[in-house]
């Protein structure tokens, strides 16, 4: 760690050489620092501690960045007690050089977008160098480095897989206002881990991406288009007759992606439109789930537009779609604008699907048919996703009352296990006995032969899939008083349906000799069964969620928020392990305070409910501390199209502190 710090500080030591002691004087520096401390401890021992400190230095042509992290364990990911990130930048005239941890975004990320999203433990920065030459309208960037990205396996907190990329990339950008053009090339040699840590089983994959983008900026419209072509090859090594190791490349996968975005402006109204078609690896609906075994497709550097709404309400986030960056096409519209009285409205629609419709020829064999045209499909076996959201917000009562109300709905075919709708033929052989004898009091048949063959043809349908839909109604009100106080109330109601659908005149059995799905009733091919069952425990038909949040605050000083989250059924059933005083207070349970309750055995009325209270206080305009006590529901949390299952936080305390200097 010390070596890395010295590398970053070395140029500054040189700058201070006129007076070496100046280096230790804070007035010598232009700097800023930021600290974030997060601590959490729940009743059922979910403990984490994440501390980060960022230091930025500026002096002359140099810029330095150091990030130290002490997290043992973090909320998600590996423990770290080390210098996590560092970078030294030098700029002079048209040249700039960066050494250390590099984050670059070219175009809309179809080739390269490097981000650090600690909420989902995603960081695809590369440790290496970047050289840039910018002169008037031309900018040329060349970079090289190594990226290690961890991937969760069966464990919800600690990653089990790691993908290492050694990359080289070049970008040339031309600015001829109102046009902007870019050409990008990226090559990466990936060491792809196939088994959890400790069991060395890897494959070497070479990825090559060529991309280009163009944008045009106008007064009433703008447009952006990006295209990428990608191919991957398997790298293997052979030893030649001289004993030297020779690399050979064999083709693995080819793919491409296109993205288009346009905005039309008319007064205070904007119509936003997006189109995407990503086709890097078209896998059957069953194979898609096995990320680790599927390599050579989209790589972690490609962080591309998702084309559905990034929700900022936890209910809408829980119901969000999990993007398929390898094989998905879609459109998104959003109309936003101002209404009389200063109100604002947003209406959005999104439709996505796979690039193929999939048919299960047999339990292990899938056949794909490309969806015609450019638009996403509605067919169930193309796994469509549709989303609609509308919102109105504004101020009332002389700008003192802020309101926002919205309606969001979505529906999706989440998974297909079996999907066949076609015809089948079966052969029926008619046998007759040709030789027999009478022995005792019975005939004994000695021989038989086929006398005729009947060929039967009939329609077969067998489908097994999961579908989901939901609608959410969030309402938010904030009233600001003249004396700096404000009160807020928000309420959300949600209904979610998750169903398993089984239908057809055949089931899940397959006759390999006939190459056909087996009918439910062999003698009656028209016997059709349709069965829809809920995916929630105890056959609960649908899930109802309600959330109430009450808040009060004094501007620039403090805020207190009470959250109450309720559901009628949990997707993954967890039991509240402790009955805490906040819960008893909210439920008005006097028996608790009389000592008549067993804290380790919460009463039934506390189940499926999560209550928490958060208090935040601004120590100054740059220092903030907050405490949260209570419980937070776990489950699926989606951010930017990437979802992870968050562990529940039961009856504990969270503390966070942030400061900037």
């Amino acid at each position: 760690m010390l070596k890395k710090i010295l590398i970053i500080l070395f140029p500054y030591i040189l700058l201070a050489q006129n007076n070496p002691f100046q280096f230790f004087d804070l007035d010598f520096w232009n700097y800023n620092a930021g600290i974030t401390l997060n601590f959490g401890d729940s009743y059922d021992d979910f403990t984490y501690m994440e501390n980060r400190m960022d230091l930025n230095f500026f002096k002359g042509n140099f810029t330095g960045w150091l990030q130290y992290e002490y997290s043992d364990p973090p909320e998600l990911g590996f423990p770290i007690k080390d210098l996590r990130k560092y970078r030294l930048e030098y700029g002079s005239g048209p040249w700039s050089l960066k050494l250390g941890d590099i984050y670059e975004v070219w175009g809309r990320g179809l080739v390269l977008a490097q981000l650090d999203d600690q909420g989902i433990d995603f960081d695809n920065s590369s440790r290496g160098y970047l050289l840039n030459y910018t002169l008037e309208n031309i900018s040329v960037t060349q970079m090289s480095g190594r990226t290690k990205n961890a991937q969760l396996g069966s464990d919800l907190r600690y990653p089990e897989f790691e993908f290492t990329h050694d990359m080289d990339a070049t970008n040339i950008e031309f600015d001829v206002y109102p046009f902007n053009f870019g050409l990008s090339f990226l090559q990466s040699n990936e060491l792809h881990q196939l088994k959890p840590f400790g069991m060395m089983d890897t494959v070497d994959v070479n990825h090559r991406l060529h991309g280009g983008y163009i944008s045009w900026f106008g007064s009433i419209a703008d447009i952006f288009v990006e295209y990428v072509d990608k191919q991957s090859k398997l790298r293997t090594y052979d030893t030649n007759f001289s004993g030297d190791e020779v690399e050979s490349l064999s083709p693995l996968k080819k793919g491409s992606g296109i993205y288009l975005n346009t905005n039309l402006y008319l007064g205070m109204w904007s119509l936003f439109f997006e189109y995407k078609r990503y086709s890097f690896d078209r896998l059957s609906p069953v194979d898609t789930d096995y990320i680790i075994n599927n390599y050579g497709n989209r790589i972690d550097y490609q962080v591309m537009p998702i084309l559905f709404r990034e929700q900022n309400h936890s209910f809408l986030g829980r119901a969000a779609h999990q993007t398929n960056a390898n094989d998905e096409r879609g459109i998104q519209f959003e109309l936003s604008g101002g209404l009389p009285n200063g109100f604002q409205t947003v209406t959005q629609f999104s439709h996505l699907s796979r690039n193929d419709t999939w048919t299960s020829i047999s339990p292990i064999e899938w056949k794909n048919n490309s969806v015609g045209g450019f638009m996403p499909a509605n067919s169930l076996n193309a796994l469509p996703y549709k989303e609609f959201y509308t919102e109105i917000n504004g101020y009332l009562m002389d700008n003192k009352l802020y309101f926002k109300t919205a309606y969001g709905q979505n529906k999706e075919i989440n998974k297909i296990n079996r999907f066949f709708n076609g015809s089948a033929e079966t052969i029926k052989e008619n046998w007759a006995y040709t030789d027999s004898i009478w022995y005792g009091d019975s005939w004994f048949y000695l021989d038989s032969q086929i006398v005729s063959i009947d060929s039967l043809s009939y329609d077969i349908e067998t489908k097994l899939y999961q579908k989901s839909k939901s609608f959410t109604l969030p309402i938010e009100l904030t009233y600001t008083l003249n004396n700096g106080y404000s009160v807020g109330l928000s309420y959300a109601y949600q209904q979610r349906y998750k169903k398993n659908v089984k239908k057809g005149n055949a089931g899940g059995f397959y006759n390999y000799s006939d190459s056909s799905w087996v009918l439910n009733d062999l003698d009656e091919p028209s016997t059709y069964i349709e069965q829809t069952t809920s995916n929630y425990p105890n056959e609960t038909p649908f899930q109802i969620n309600r959330m109430v949040s009450l808040s009060m605050g004094k501007a620039s000083k403090w805020a207190i928020t009470l959250n109450y989250d309720w559901t009628n059924v949990q997707e993954i059933v967890t039991l509240d392990p402790n009955y805490n005083p906040l819960e008893a207070l909210i439920y008005g349970d006097i028996e608790y305070f009389k000592g008549n309750r067993d804290k380790n055995s919460p009463p039934s009325f506390t189940q499926n409910k999560w209550v928490s209270m958060e208090f935040s206080y601004n120590l100054s305009s740059t220092q903030r501390i907050s405490f949260l006590y209570g419980s937070i529901q776990g489950g699926l949390v989606c951010s930017n199209g990437i979802c992870r299952i968050l562990q529940p936080f039961n009856d504990g305390l969270k503390l966070s502190y942030s400061a900037i200097f």
Partner: protein, 159 residues
């Protein structure tokens, strides 16, 4: 040790801002120091999914228009990633905002100024010195923001 002492202080002299390259939403490029040529600057970090950021933007746009005659400007640095970057311009247009908007999809400007917590306001004097910083937004805080701008402009106008 010096750093520890600084942490203990309530308000700090926060130093100068580096000359950061900015890519504006209009497609043009500029730098922080070029924007400072006309007068003091208020920077804020925001994203389309950040509720308090959107609430404070309305007030910041008012301040931008109210004090632009005195050379004061507001710069909103957007933090949306490429996944949702396309919606930024349509949102700004639908709100009819007049302040400058730049994009920072890999959050590098935010990292250089420790602006990861949003909203994150930085009030910068014309000489590049940071006069005031503020994290987060609660309704009613616009009064303090306005006071800080007025205090800076009164000093700026005297000079």
């Amino acid at each position: 040790m010096q750093l520890a002492l600084i942490i203990a202080q309530d308000q700090l002299s926060i130093g100068k801002i580096p000359n950061l390259d900015l890519k504006l939403l209009s497609g043009k490029k500029t730098t922080v120091y070029k924007l400072l040529e006309s007068g003091p600057l208020l920077m804020d970090f925001w994203a389309t999914w950040c509720k308090p950021c959107k609430q404070v933007m309305k007030h910041l746009n008012n301040f931008h228009n109210e004090y632009k005659d005195q050379g004061f400007q507001v710069l909103m640095v957007n933090q949306d990633t490429p996944r949702s970057l396309g919606k930024v311009k349509s949102y700004i247009n639908s709100k009819n905002y007049d302040f400058f908007v730049s994009i920072d999809p890999n959050q590098q400007i935010a990292k250089k100024l420790n602006g990861q917590i949003m909203p994150n306001l930085i009030l910068i004097n014309q000489d590049g010195s940071i006069q005031w910083r503020h994290q987060g937004y609660m309704p009613g805080e616009e009064k303090e923001i306005k006071e800080q701008i007025q205090a800076l402009l009164s000093v700026h106008n005297k000079n």
